[in-house]
Point group: C2
Chain length 226, copies 2
Amino acid sequence: MREVLIEAAFQLFMENGFERTTVDDIVTRAGVGRRSFFRYFPSKEDVVFPEHERCLTEMSAFLTTSTDGEPLDAVCDAARLVMRMYAANPEFSVQRYRLTREVPSLRGYELSVVHRYERTLAHYLRQRYAGDRNGALRAEVQAAAVVAAHNNGLRAWLRGGGHGDAAKTVDQALTFVRQTWDDAGESAESGGTASAPEDDVIVMVAPRGAPLWRVVQKIEKTLGDE
Amino acid sequence: MREVLIEAAFQLFMENGFERTTVDDIVTRAGVGRRSFFRYFPSKEDVVFPEHERCLTEMSAFLTTSTDGEPLDAVCDAARLVMRMYAANPEFSVQRYRLTREVPSLRGYELSVVHRYERTLAHYLRQRYAGDRNGALRAEVQAAAVVAAHNNGLRAWLRGGGHGDAAKTVDQALTFVRQTWDDAGESAESGGTASAPEDDVIVMVAPRGAPLWRVVQKIEKTLGDE
């Protein structure tokens, strides 16, 4: 029933445009009653994005179990759930992408969905960073960055007609975000010397004018601290 | 006329709520005709956010003239225009903040406005990074990060009743974003050794297992390169 309504709706949106298609048109084409439509979809906009509620639920469930590892890695993995939902049905995703670009009310709907994903990621990061200085700020900035990168990759794939590898395109974009904070890493937090997140790298910061013996002393101290 | 309509509208929103106030109520209270309202405001939502159009125009104009300096500094300065608009009228801003949290259609309106600011910043950064590898991606991620940080600071100020120093709160949040990319900086781009963006700091990266003599050699080489 639900699938039949989605298919009927998209046929009509493609034929007559989103605005000119009514819920009555959709149920007539699908051969079901008007009440059936509203049992599945609160509004005409919802039928365009039928999988986001499920995906939001999956994302929350995934994050609830992600208590170990790097918080930023967990939210990148969570964002990939959205990419996978799009990639599971390239043709439908590309159709919807084109439709959404043309219809202001759909763009508004999409913005609100993206905002809910971002809030879900930020909520998770705030919990992981609880007690850190600037924890909430870091959580919100990183969630926004992950969503922006994910959407940059996803849009590139959609613009390409959904023909390429969505996972690869989105992964490349997410790698940019992870590298940003890997590189900023611990040394930025504490100042002076500190070990980098990776196991095999040391990052050393010293005043440019420092004499070499003092730089060496600092390295020896850092190595001794490990 | 415009100011009178805004004041009448807010009185009524506070007294009766946003949903229960009609445009007819507003023009009656303001003592003007219905057509006057729509001359200034396309919808009831627009009267709640009367300054954003002007601010968006100012932001674009400011960025058009910002062709020198660090691109990220320019977008942080541009974002501050929004904070200043809020800080110019703390009482009104706090009232609106409370109203927006309660009314879904206003939250939707606000999301679309925030999205327009973000697109304006991203558009500027894309131009500044044109030709760079990952330029568009970097532009979109940084724009999202700046907007998230700005809004984190602004919301903290609004939650505090608009009593503190909005500029200070927002500046602290924006500093976090600028430090993120300062620290990731050049060394992340080129790998190995490189000078940090600040004039008086050197960043050195070496394998953790490297013998000390090789680390020193690398420092000497770096210092020699300066």
